[in-house]
């Protein structure tokens, strides 16, 4: 008898929790404001030098690895950065972006990669990109260094190449996604698109 009462009240408690708390949780998720693109026509400058950047880590002849960060960045960044602006043009030279309200240029600062002895050990890759935004007059309005990171297995002789490719992709994507969030939150970039203040009467 006591046992059945206990079960009954337990079921009531679970039902109340589902009815009360779950919609709140779902509502809480839905209430999060979606990030808004900045109302600017921007250009993303990916120069041939930037796209050709490769970083070597480790000791030559022992454990040296090459990370093709430039090629990966030039494949992955444009579709990610596009979300930050109302329009984004891709150029390979800042001179080709003269008509755009904002010119965004990434530059590699450095890459850090840990190395592990065992194939199934997770290693970390850090890609530091310095993002510079200039307005139409060429004045720098915003600068931010972003650490993109990723973790993945070191890999064995057969999987190492694929793992390197994927860890670079993940770190570059992480950097680009953080850049979008910073761009959208930047008051300095928002001011570029804002109408000039009215002169005092």
């Amino acid at each position: 008898m006591v046992n059945s009462e206990y079960r009954f009240f337990s079921l009531i408690a679970v039902a109340l929790f589902v009815l009360c708390c779950l919609p709140m949780k779902l509502g809480g998720q839905a209430a999060q404001p979606a990030s808004q693109p900045v109302s600017l026509n921007a250009a993303l400058v990916l120069t041939p030098e930037f796209c050709a950047t490769k970083t070597k880590k480790g000791t030559w002849g022992i454990n040296q690895e090459t990370f093709p960060v430039g090629k990966t960045a030039c494949d992955e960044l444009e579709p990610i950065i596009k979300a930050a602006f109302t329009s984004l043009t891709l150029v390979d030279d800042p001179a080709k972006a003269a008509d755009e309200q904002l010119v965004l240029t990434p530059k590699f600062v450095d890459v850090g990669a840990t190395q592990k002895t065992f194939a199934f050990s997770d290693r970390e890759l850090t890609v530091l990109i310095e993002w510079t935004a200039r307005d139409k007059s060429g004045k720098t309005v915003w600068i931010e260094t972003i650490q993109g990171t990723a973790k993945r297995h070191m890999g064995n002789a057969f999987t190492h190449g694929s793992n390197v490719k994927h860890i670079v992709e993940d770190a570059v994507k992480d950097d680009g996604e953080q850049a979008v969030a910073k761009i959208e939150a930047s008051p300095e970039i928002a001011k570029v698109g804002a109408p000039p203040p009215k002169p005092a009467q």
Binding site: D110, G112, A113, F118, L128, K139, T140, T145, S186
Partner: protein, 182 residues
């Protein structure tokens, strides 16, 4: 004695450097809206704890730097590549010009090259990279913090080091140069 694979594979341990405000630092300077603090990590035991390597014997001094923008309206651009330094006891040195047009009679601080010189261990290099101060826009009330790795003599007592940190007002393009002697 047998060693487990996990311990063989374990990397060096890094003690996180405690966050400082400008007021907590040994060296401080103000210029307009900008306030800068610097805290050199001279003790080799501390260097070992925070960076898993003794940096002084490799010819580098880690200096924690915090830059605060105390303006309520203006933003400032901190470009790490414009930070310059010189031996405080030296006389006139060769003149250079920064990207922002400011004249500097100094040379840049060690970053990427410092990491290569300090160690070949990838985990230690990565920690140095992550701990380094980086370029940033300082919106009103925002600060940036991190380490500069300053070249010093490997032996003997080091002299004073003069560090020059320029910041550009993003609205007016006016440059505020903050000078510190460490």
């Amino acid at each position: 004695m047998l060693t487990s694979p996990a311990s063989v594979n374990a990397g060096p341990k890094f003690t996180p450097y405690p966050e400082h405000r400008v007021s907590d630092c040994a060296v401080k300077a103000d210029k307009g809206d900008i306030s800068v603090g610097a805290q050199p990590v001279e003790d080799t035991k501390d260097q070992k704890a925070y960076f898993a390597t003794e940096m002084t014997e490799k010819g580098y001094l880690p200096v924690y730097v915090v830059i605060e923008n105390r303006s309520s309206a203006d933003s400032y651009l901190f470009d790490k590549s414009n930070v310059a330094m010189a031996d405080a006891s030296a006389g006139a040195v060769s003149e250079a010009r920064s990207k922002t047009g400011e004249k500097f009679a100094m040379f840049g601080v060690g970053g990427i090259f410092a990491m290569r010189a300090i160690t070949s261990a990838t985990a230690v290099q990565e920690n140095l990279l992550k701990s380094e101060i980086q370029s940033k826009t300082l919106s009103p009330g925002v600060s940036v913090k991190g380490f500069l790795y300053i070249p010093i003599p490997k032996e003997g007592v080091r002299g004073g080091i003069h560090v020059q940190i320029p910041l550009v007002n993003s609205r007016t393009s006016e440059i505020q140069v903050v000078n510190l002697t460490i």
